[in-house]
Amino acid sequence: MTARDGFVQILRGEWTKFRSVRSTAWCVLLGAGLMVLLSALVAAGSTTDANDEPAEPIIADQFHFVHQPMVGDGTLVARVSSQQDTGPWARAGIMIKQSTQPRSRYAAVMVTPGHGVRLQADFTTDLAGSATKAPRWLRLTRAGNVITGYEGDGTTWTEVGSVTLDTLPRTAEVGLFVTSPSTAERVVRRAGGTSVGPDWRLGTATFDNVSLAPASGARPGTWRNDDVGGPVQQVDGTPLAGSATEAGGTFTVRGAGDIAAQPPSPGGDNDTVRDALSGIYIGLIAIVTLGVLFATSEYKTGLIRSTFAASPRRGRVLVAKALVLGVSTFATGLVASLAAFLVAQPIQRGNGFRPPAYPTASLSDGPVLRAVVGSALVLAVLALIGLGLGTILHRSAGSITIVIALVVVPSIVGSLLPIRVETWIQRLTPLAGLAIQQTRTDRFDTYIAPWAGFGVLCAYAAVVLGAAFWLLRRRDA
């Protein structure tokens, strides 16, 4: 008998033991069944109105405005002496606006940290001036309904552009403004729910040499200041109010928000494929149990001694067990994840997750296929971790507990902690393997790349199985 024949025999022996135990059937049914069930439950309990949103652009109009009314024509001059860089599109400049009502008409000339001097009007007009940053002189003149913006270095003026605001009333608000769009997301967790929204930061700019000259020769009035569009609100509801102070002709203005027409968002935020496969979190408990029992039940019944008497090369027995378990749990997992995907998808579609906001996920897309097949791979590797722990500990209770403590508990505790903490929990625990279910890379909870995460899980499996292999050869059965 050659060595290869011997291994095939061991393999067949392990397969017979595996398939003829009643608990195998229970674990397979429970694992696959619970996975599909939880996926269907999650799909049924998730609705979206992503497709009901209006197609026209959303107009943002929030900034801090130091203003006074100007009757008729006139000129406003100011120098932006400094601007804090809170993002490429932070804006500091001078503006003429129909009123302090948000979404009323306006024209403004401004400096930005990343896009030079701009003349913007009515949310959609955007003319580029020079690529200069603060300090910069700015000038805005009104002649009838024509507003012209200039920039300069204090001695010469260059026209940035001019716009016509045909319904601008005779009395309009003119003044200094500062705003700063958010450049990051803020994630807030409360009472088990997670809210995601823009992370607002106040931008600061200083102005000097401010002079307002109405053509009528009237004396300029006093400056007032307001958060146009109300103070911006952080996602946790905290308002972030702007401010303005004046000392010796220098104005320090702070504000946050955006003045722009934002195109409607191209799609929804949910990773529907991952949601459809979320049942894996419960399915894995039964699959891990299967792996653990495959090792421990032989120790409990004493069968392991006969096994080792029949094939004294214990390492090969473990390899054979791992092969039988890995292949069969992968097959089970593949059936379960395909079923979960196919059951959940129509439910999701019925709950609003449909094109155009949510294009239909197809198994022919690389990431979708990776998620479905990857889920089966994750289940197989977790089963192998169970097998390794069972071989090391000889006890099913301890082995199951350790896997639950490493995989299920961190996923829940992590979801209750700040995102910065959860990121490391998701990267360092075997939970990282579930990153293989991601099909979107633009969500706040993409903690680790799909295959890198799977690699972390495999590293755990390698350590556990390596220890099991080593101990098996050294210890008595």
């Binding site: 049924a44 309990g45 419960i282 149990t289």
Partner: protein
Amino acid sequence: MRLAIRAEWTKLRTVRSTGWLVLALVGGTVATGALATYSVDTSLCATARSCDEDTVRLSLLGTYLGQVAVVVLAALTVTTEYETRLIRLTLTADPRRMRVLAAKAAVVTAIVLAAAAVSVLGSLAAARGILPGNGFTAANGYPPLSLADGPTARAYGGTVLYFGLIGLLSLGVGVAVRHTAAALSIVLSVLFVAPIAAVFLADSRARDLVLTYSPMTAGLAIQATRRLGELPIGPWSGLGVLAGYAAGAMLLGAVVFAVRDA
């Protein structure tokens, strides 16, 4: 009954796993709670006050891990008897099965409650040491955690009861299925399915429904001390839901125990 309890106590305390599990319960709860508390500070919020962090609940996050040890401890008290066939000897010595079950329940509950009290007090002590350093100071609206405060005492005391009820739930399932791996797999799935589903459910109505009627999430409502109005279920009614599950499992276990051959 006293003899039955003494017998069960002897069986439980002389098994090596009991000591390990009590250690895992206390250590897991306190360490996880302390790490979670350490990882959250007010600098993550716009202002310290706007954090509105439920520091009591935060300090008790270790419950999620500690309860796994309780589930194992309680299930093992019966399933190992079946697996070693000791149960036949037990029932020969004391044929009144309900008395045996009651004695088991009493001993498990007593051990779990005692270990849980230590765990909870350890979590409280750890949080009191850690919180002020992370910005949760009285000046920011977070007075030091104290059991003299009604809701805080309810949260900590209720958590001890929570552990006790989880023990009974697991014991009942253990008696009913008589198999360690099966009992653990079933109890842990039932417990953890809801909090995991809650992470993924996008619909708040569906999420509230799941959180209200599943044993772990309902029972852990007892730990909330802030924004009680946002809870899908009140603290005591939540613990009541868990008690219902525990009673159901014990009833099932009792029926199976009385009817089926050992």
